[in-house]
Amino acid sequence: MAEKSLPKINKIDQPFWKGAAEGKLLIQKCRACEKLQFFPRVVCTGCFSCELDWVQAKGEGKVHSFSWVFVPRNPAFKDEVPICYANIILDEGVIFESRIVGTNPQTVKTGAKVRVVFQQTASPEIKLPVFELAG
């Protein structure tokens, strides 16, 4: 029986997952050129600097695109279909891939405002940043 996928936390993105567990959405900011980026990487995609700080995003943004998933790649997620997988543009100006929860196919629209919530996973230490419609 397949298990629902969990992140394989490593030393590069450990701060991100620690932040999520504490209810903070962290993204990377380059100390040299100040570029913001997500997902977490070793190197700044603007200037090759390896000095990347973590900054807290407000956790607000809008829906850029979304798909109702009926056939998840990992069958363990089947009990949750349809899953609203989305691209969120955070107010800070980066795309974040995530899920929109607590909604249905009639109410999600592109451009809708969303805010982050942190969802407990099967692992006690890991919470997933997901999004819900913001009013």
Binding site: N10, I12, V42, T45, F48, S67, F70, P72, R73, E80
Partner: protein
């Protein structure tokens, strides 16, 4: 072989350390920065990129993505100890051919046991995509398709027409696994996989293989009298990679098209073999190649006949959507079909005037953007 226009212009090194667990990518970054500092070149001057290593078992485009490199030429220099010399040789080929003017060639190692001993692409997908229960490529392309539909008013009828017409072409191709008639209604009623991607938007995985043979002009003349020349070719790797708000509805094919059409006029192409992992990808490529404006692909598809008999023949053998996708043979299928057409060997689905064909390949749906790798070529039949 005597080189005519290739020079070494600089280098960069890092400190060496015994058993350092520093991430391999940070070594790469330091070496590149040193070379850029020495030469005065900017990150955006890097057009070609090669990686040779044993410790990061992944494709070079994925390594380049981590470094934020958008490229015209990329190479996995997986030649063991010969990698330094062989990478130089291949880059010299690319420079002489005019594909790039500046190539950065890297070699490296680290004892980092955590993230970059894993494949960078797997890492990214596992931690930031898979955990949300996504539906694989079907979902990632669904995000692109929804953007296109909402931004430009593209309809399912227009997208479906591509799948339906390719099926008509496939009905005359004995290699095609899917040859039953398919109507637009069949397409629209097919099972939802990852909304708005339906079953008939998806390729059927299958077994098979394709092969292509190239030769020098002189040698080629002694092999066949059906001479098909490679006229021009280009690639764009990691289009928009360092843009955190990329345009999801434009592929690197836009850059590829500009390069190709610097050599051949758009109206000189007789047929198009466009990589069709999904119909929406075909529609977007028609726009990116400049046959209509961005966002007008739906209208274009609606008002042209895309069949092998039509005024704009696309995927004349049915494409991967109807033939089947035999893994990475999918990228060769389009080359082979173009060759069949240009050699007048396409039987009942032969395009009447088939002198020049444009072939594309696209691959790897990337985080937040669309395609990681895009490439194209134009071939021409000469008597």
């Amino acid at each position: 072989m005597r080189r005519k226009r290739v020079c070494f212009v600089g280098y960069g090194s890092t400190e060496y350390s015994r058993k350092s667990e520093e991430p391999l990518l940070s070594y790469y970054a330091q070496a590149i920065r040193a070379a850029l500092d020495q030469t005065g070149l900017k990150k955006s001057d890097i057009q070609g990129f090669s990686v040779t290593t044993q410790s990061s078992p992944d494709y070079s485009p994925h390594v380049a993505e981590q470094l934020g490199l958008e490229l015209d030429w990329v190479l996995n220099g997986d030649y063991g100890g010969a990698g330094g010399v062989t990478s130089v040789r291949r880059a010299a080929d690319a420079i002489e051919a005019g594909h790039v003017d500046v190539a950065v060639l890297l070699g490296g190692n680290s004892f980092d046991k955590s993230v970059f001993q894993q494949r960078p692409l797997e890492y990214q997908r596992a931690n930031y995509v898979d955990v949300y229960g996504y539906g694989g490529p079907n979902t990632l392309m669904a995000l692109v398709q929804r953007r296109h539909m909402e931004q430009y008013g593209t309809t399912l009828d227009q997208i479906g027409k591509i799948a339906v017409t390719q099926r008509e072409n496939a009905r005359l191709n004995p290699q095609a696994l899917l040859r039953d008639p398919m109507s637009l209604e069949d397409y629209l009623k097919s099972r939802m996989i990852s909304d708005p991607i339906r079953l008939f938007d998806c390729v059927m995985p299958c077994s098979g293989a394709e092969c292509v043979v190239l030769a020098s002009e002189e040698r080629a003349r002694s092999i066949t009298d059906k001479l098909v020349y490679l006229v021009t070719d280009a690639e764009r790797i990691n289009y928009q990679v360092s843009n955190m708000l990329p345009d999801k509805t434009t592929f690197g094919i836009k850059v590829v098209g500009d390069r190709l059409f610097a050599e051949v006029r758009r109206d000189q192409i007789d047929l198009f073999e466009l990589y069709d992992d999904y119909p929406i990808a075909v529609l977007i490529q028609i726009e990116d190649l400049g046959y209509c404006g961005k966002g007008e692909g739906g209208k274009f598809v609606g008002s042209h006949d895309l069949s092998f008999k039509g005024d704009f023949p696309v995927n004349t053998g049915g494409g991967e959507l109807s033939v089947g996708q035999a893994g990475l043979a999918g990228g060769f299928l389009h080359v082979v079909e173009a060759l069949r057409q240009l050699r007048s060997e396409a039987g009942p689905r032969q395009v009447k005037k088939a002198e020049r064909a444009l072939v594309t390949g696209i691959g790897w749906l990337s985080y937040g953007r669309n395609l990681g790798t895009t490439a194209g070529l134009i071939m021409e039949r000469r008597a």
